[in-house]
Amino acid sequence: MREYDIVVIGGGLAGLMAAAAATKRGKKVTVLSLGSGTLTIGGGIVDVMGYLEGGIPAATPSAGLLQVGDKHPYKMIGRPAIEESIRFFKEICEQEGYSYIGNLDKMQWIPTAAGTLKPTCLVPKTMDTTELKKADKVIVLGFDALKDFYPSLIAKNFKKIPAFAQKEYEVVMIDPKLSEGRDVTALDVARWLDTEDGLASCIEKMRNVVPSGSVVIIPPVLGTRPNYLVKEKLEQALGCTFVETASVPPSITGLRLRTMLVRYLKKNGVRIVEQAIVAKSIVEENNCMAVITEGVDRERTYYAKSFILANGGFYGGGLLAEPGKVIEPIFNLPVEAPTDHELWANYSLFSSEAQPFAKLGLDVDEKMRPVDADGKVILNNVFVAGRNLRGYDFSFEKSGNGVAIASGYQAAMSV
């Protein structure tokens, strides 16, 4: 029987960050992963706190942190750990040659594929808006056949944003000739640019439509690997600045971030088990002894001194919703939810209020251990991180990856 120091359940951003922080503390870690969480959906942009209750934009992520409600995970984690976690995350990125820009004291408003701006905290350099803000003329570049990017939508809507209205926009298209009877996603274009031939061909096509000195908004396609080679080569060849937008899945920026973190973890001796469906746990007197995975072949039991539960919320399967109740499937931890299902959701999908259902989740103490309604710790060696936590609506607040990083870090530090 092999026993680990820590078994992390979940291979999304919260789980990977928890594993990273644990190895830094010299722990022997295994990650049980089933997919990549929301990394390939929301992507590699680290939102920390964009909007407060009432839909009021926070002046800075830092200012936003001061104004969260009592049940919010940030309240439990506390300011110092949040700051440390962000610093730690940026360190990893730096070390891996894929550094992120931004800090807690500045809100970054980045362009989206819908032609809106969204407030965030940390972004890869491919989303740096410094030159975009200065430019008088902006080119919005699309790829023929890419069905998830519409440059005219961006150009038109930016004209409605006061700070962007004075700029001149030009929409240009290039044809990557990738279609050949099948559907084309941003991932296809990014893979095309990963290759030397693809990149050279793209530069040739762009040369005809993008004058030197341009600032160019493009979909997130600047390579699938966690480095800035594609961006640098393109910019060098064309004398332009490229800015990727936040966009719909599949998220290339999220893919890069995941690739980078997995590489970092493997270098640091973390074992990652893919396709691991954790079905149940063995608990003795408020301590988890092991978790058991189900697979096509057989059950496997993973023993550890501590466990980090980072298997997501409703999307990831860490929480299961039924009419009027929520189930946490591995430890059967209590989740407070209205029995009247009508109270779970607002009538309007979009409004100035967060959605009640999005805030359903597990209660924890400041060490991220699950607690009952009276605040009593239920499991001494289980620490919770990520979307299964109670009290925040990641979509509404724009706080998803920030909570993942901070809670993952805090969980690992509390072990």
């Binding site: 929301t38 929301g42 942009i45 939102d47 964009g50 839909g55 934009p57 002046a59 500045k106 809100m107 970054q108 408003w109 989206t112 594929a113 819908a114 809106t116 701006l117 969204k118 407030p119 808006t129 056949a145 069905k147 998830d148 519409y150 005219s152 939508l153 809507n157 409605k160 944003i161 700070a163 962007f164 279609s179 009877g181 559907d183 084309v184 936040a246 719909v248 899945p249 919320g313 409703f314 999307y315 299961l320 919703a321 039924e322 009419p323 299902h341 009508e342 779970w344 959701a345 309007s348 999908l349 979009f350 409004s351 959605q355 259902f357 999005a358 990641f394 979509s395 509404f396 724009k398």
Partner: protein
């Protein structure tokens, strides 16, 4: 897109021409089954007519029901005449509506919870009105429909069929247009103009532009369904229509290949109807104050699942797509009212008896008998207009078949399964146009909506139709956004496509996003658990989290 419903004179350009008044002989109010049936019948008899719809075609009850083309079995015991009308119309619609009817046949199954005594009464009543009922063994029934509960006690086969409400309405309009019929959508009636107790015109408002205009006419037929009371009130006439909300669930499985009715006195949650790859379970019944109270709730859904379990034990393991609700227009006659029509299933009210000539309301009835209702009303109106041409709506098909040559061409551009679907959605003319778009730009063959197999070219064609003003209008024409993901991926693409095509209604894309996603949300909210919840977290992650549709235009900090 075929553009059934394309008005020869587009409403917008009509308004731009100023106060010039439109003229017609008959104005039909209501773009549901009855209204379009009347429009078609009038036009086929050579009567000039305009149909007005306050929303989009089939926006009301005609698309908010289970889509069952009744054999009449459901009514045979309680209302023999309605049962007889159903079987007759059912036979006609199978013939003329081949492209909107799926001939599934139906089962009437008695569960262990249902009264055995009713069975004999039912068989007898069906025989009396000519509805064939063929008893089969439970073993045979389970062989044909393996998902049925093995606890069922007895089963009969009946000639039920599934009918696509949207398509049926569009195809009636397409047919009417061939005979000169005109349709104005998003046009609400705000006044009935009369002189010397005779209708002379109608005052309308375009609900999108707010502009008001008049249409001169000799006759007004209100086929406004649950809204009939409100229309009559504009002329100071009382029509007592009580809207009754029925909630239904759409499942993302063909749970059954046949319609399955519960063999008991008609009640809640006892009909399952397969449509293509989905199944609809209905219905609840609750009296409501407003005809547009079509917001379903979680309690109704849970009730339906509880009841539905008697026929399909695994009902809770099937993925739901959404819940939806419509209002039945239940008519109760004022004892003092006169001028009632002959049938008990529906009622034709000639308001000449109320002192206003040239105004008729048709109320009650059901989808299955829409054609018959239309025929009766048109007979009445033609009598007044001295038009002798007989009704031919039962003889002529709604739309023509797509030629084998065109289908062969379509298969070159559509995915195999998609070609048949597209042909049946679009009709020949529309299919031709979509193929032309793909020939011009081959990448337009890509699927904009993967769930429902809808190509980019088809969405662009539907969006360019003069009756499209929002993404939901495109959805009703193409089925985009109606599958498993309920708009998670296709909303962005369709808004992008509308914008890229420079369509006039695509100016405020944020409004387009919100309108469409809110429409989807209405049906998701009451079933927000299981995989539906998972999907919703994804959808919000995309549109609220990443694209910040909610925060919209913020210029903070930049």
């Amino acid at each position: 897109m075929t553009g059934p419903g394309l008005c020869p004179v587009s409403f917008i350009s009509f308004l731009k021409r100023g106060i010039e008044m439109q003229k017609t002989t008959v104005v039909v109010i209501g773009g549901g089954a009855t209204g379009v049936g009347i429009l078609r019948d009038l036009c086929m008899r050579g009567v000039d007519a305009i149909l007005l719809e306050q929303q989009d075609l089939a926006y009301g009850t005609s698309s908010r029901y289970h889509g069952l083309l009744h054999s009449g079995g459901r009514y045979a015991v309680k209302d023999a005449e309605a049962g007889k009308e159903c079987i007759e119309e059912n036979t006609i619609l199978r013939r003329i509506g081949r492209h909107c009817v799926e001939q599934t046949e139906g089962f009437f199954a008695r569960t262990h919870l249902d009264d055995e005594a009713f069975e004999g009464k039912w068989v007898e009543a069906c025989a009396k009105v000519g509805i064939p009922t063929i008893p089969i063994s439970v073993e045979e029934a389970l062989r044909l429909e393996p998902n049925l509960s093995p606890k069922i006690k007895s089963v009969y086969r009946v000639p039920d069929a599934a009918i696509d409400g949207f398509r049926m309405v569009w195809q009636n309009v397409a047919s009417a247009r061939k005979y000169g019929g005109r349709v104005l959508t998003y046009t609400t009636v705000i006044g009935i103009e009369h002189s010397n107790n005779q209708v002379v015109g109608i005052k309308v408002r375009n609900t999108l532009t707010g502009e008001v205009s008049n249409i001169a006419c000799d006759f007004i037929i209100s086929a406004a369904g649950s809204w009939a009371g409100e229309i009559a009130a504009l002329a100071g006439i009382s029509v007592n229509v009580q809207p009754d909300r029925g909630t239904l669930i759409a499942f993302n499985h063909r749970i059954t290949s046949r319609i399955v009715n519960r063999l008991r006195p008609a009640s809640d949650g006892d009909i399952f109807v397969p449509h293509g790859s989905i199944t609809i379970l209905g219905t609840t019944s609750a009296s409501v104050n407003k005809p547009d109270d079509t917001v379903p709730n979680a309690k109704e859904v849970v009730e339906l699942l509880n009841i539905g379990e008697a026929l399909f034990e695994d009902i809770r393991s099937y993925r739901m797509l959404r819940a939806f609700a419509g209002t039945r227009p239940l008519y109760s006659a004022d004892p003092n009212a006169t001028g009632r029509g002959a049938s008990r299933g529906f009622v034709t009210l000639d308001h000449a008896h109320d002192g206003l000539k040239g105004f008729v309301s048709v109320v009650g009835g059901k989808f299955t008998t829409y054609r018959l209702m239309a025929e009766k009303v048109t007979d009445l109106v033609c009598g007044y207009l001295n038009v002798k041409t007989p009704c031919r709506t039962a003889e002529e098909n709604l739309v023509e078949d797509t030629s084998p040559a065109l289908m062969a061409k379509a298969r070159l551009y559509f995915p195999a399964y998609g070609a048949e679907l597209a042909a049946s959605r679009l009709g020949s003319e529309g299919l031709e146009k979509v193929i032309a778009r793909i020939q011009e730009k081959p990448e337009k063959r890509q699927l904009l909506c993967e769930c429902e197999n809808v190509t980019m070219a088809e969405v662009e064609e539907a969006a360019a139709d003069s009756t499209s003003y929002m993404i939901s209008d495109v959805r009703r024409k193409t089925r985009m956004g109606m599958g498993t993901c309920q708009g998670a991926f296709c909303t962005f693409r369709s808004v992008g496509a509308v914008d890229a095509n420079g369509l006039s209604w695509g100016k405020d894309t944020n409004v387009l996003f919100k309108e469409f996603l809110q429409g989807r949300w209405k049906g998701i909210r009451p079933i927000l658990w299981g995989n539906v919840m998972r999907e919703m977290e994804l959808t919000r992650g995309i549109y609220e989290g990443t694209l910040n549709i909610n925060g919209a235009i913020d210029n903070e900090g930049i």
